[in-house]
Symmetry: C2
Amino acid sequence: MDYIEVIGFVAAVLTTAAFLPQVYKTWQTKDVSGVSLTMFITMFTGVILWLVYGLFINSLPMLVANTISAILIFTVIVLKIKHHKK
Amino acid sequence: MDYIEVIGFVAAVLTTAAFLPQVYKTWQTKDVSGVSLTMFITMFTGVILWLVYGLFINSLPMLVANTISAILIFTVIVLKIKHHKK
C-alpha cells in the first residue's frame, strides 16, 4: 500500500470512527436537544448510498466503512428520537 | 454519467450537505452541550485527509465535497467552543 492509499485508509477510518464519540456522549448524557436529527438522517441516507455505490464498484473498504458508519449513525438517530423531550 | 456515478454523486452531496442542518441548529439555538466536540474534530481531520487524498488522485469532486464539509464542520467546532458553558 503506497502512502497515498495510506492517507485514504486513515481518512476512511477517521470519518467512520468519528461517529463513535457522539454515540457515546448521547448514550451517557441523553442530552439530544442540540443534536440535529436532520443532519443524521441526511448523513444516514448518504452513507447508505455510498454503501450501494461500494457494492456496484466492488469496493470492500467502502462496504466495511459505510456499514459501520450506518450502524453508528442509526444508533444516534434512535437515541435522539428516544430522548427527545416534547 | 451512468446510474452508478449518479449514486456516488448523490451520496457525496448528501454526506457533504448533511452538516448544514447541524450548523444552522447550533447557530440558532447555541445549544452545544449534547454535541460531541471529539466527533467533529475527528471528522474534520478525516475530511482534510480525504481532501489531500483527492489532491493526489486529481479528483475534483472529492476536492469540492471535502472542502465544503471541512468549512461546515469547522463552523460547528467554533460554535461549540464559543458557546460551551463551563
